[in-house]
C-alpha cells in the first residue's frame, strides 16, 4: 500500500520541479532564477530518498542525499555571494 504512495509522491515532485523550471526560464531578475534553482535543489533531496525507498535500498540513497544537500547549499551560497552588489 505504501509503494503506491511513494510512486504518487515521486510523480508529484517531478511535476513541482517542472513548475519551477517555468520560473527559472521566465524570471525577470537573476535572483528569481537563483530562487527557482534553490527550490529545485531542495526538492531533489526528497526525490532521491523516495526513489531509494521505492527500490528498497534506502540505506545507500540516504548517503547520496546528504552529499547532494551539502553541495547544493554550498553552491547556492557561493553564487549568491558572487552576484552581491552587481548591477544586473
Amino acid at each position: 500500500m505504501l509503494d503506491k504512495i511513494f510512486i504518487g509522491l515521486i510523480v508529484g515532485l517531478v511535476l513541482i520541479i517542472l513548475m519551477m523550471l517555468v520560473r527559472v526560464f521566465k524570471g525577470p531578475s537573476i535572483y528569481d532564477r537563483l530562487n527557482g534553482l534553490g527550490v529545485i535543489g531542495s526538492d531533489t533531496i526528497l526525490l532521491i530518498v523516495l526513489i531509494g525507498y521505492y527500490n528498497k535500498r534506502a540505506d545507500m540513497f540516504v548517503d547520496i542525499s546528504i552529499a547532494y544537500a551539502i553541495l547544493g547549499f554550498i553552491g547556492l551560497v557561493v553564487i549568491a555571494k558572487y552576484f552581491d552588489r552587481k548591477e544586473t
Partner: protein
C-alpha cells in the same frame, strides 16, 4: 505507525506544493522568496520526519534526522543570503501605491 507516516508524508507534500504555487504566482521577488523560504522548509521537515517514523529505530532513521537538522539550518540561511544580495543590488520591494 504506517498511518502516522502517511499523514506526515501527505502534509509535507501539501506544503511543498503550496511553496511551488507561491513561487509561480506571487507578484514580487521578495514575496516569492518568502513563499519558498518558509513553506519549503516546513514541507521538507514534515516529509523527512514521516520517512523516519516509517523506518523505526535504525541507522537510516538517524541519517534522516541529520538531514532534517541540516535543512532546518541551511534553508533559511540560503534564503537570507539571497535576499541580502538582491537588496544590496537595488531591487525595490513591491507596494500597492507604486504600481
Amino acid at each position: 505507525m504506517a498511518i502516522v507516516a502517511i499523514i506526515f508524508l501527505l502534509g509535507g507534500f501539501f506544503f511543498t506544493f503550496v511553496a511551488a504555487l507561491g513561487v509561480i504566482r506571487l507578484p514580487d521577488f521578495y514575496s516569492r522568496l518568502h513563499a519558498s523560504g518558509k513553506c519549503e522548509t516546513l514541507g521538507m521537515v514534515l516529509s523527512f520526519l514521516g520517512l523516519a517514523i516509517y523506518e523505526g529505530f535504525t541507522l537510516t532513521a538517524l541519517k534522516l534526522f541529520f538531514i532534517v537538522i541540516f535543512i532546518f539550518i541551511a534553508n533559511p540561511t540560503g534564503t537570507h543570503i539571497l535576499s541580502r544580495a538582491a537588496y544590496r543590488s537595488g531591487i525595490k520591494p513591491w507596494t500597492r501605491k507604486g504600481e
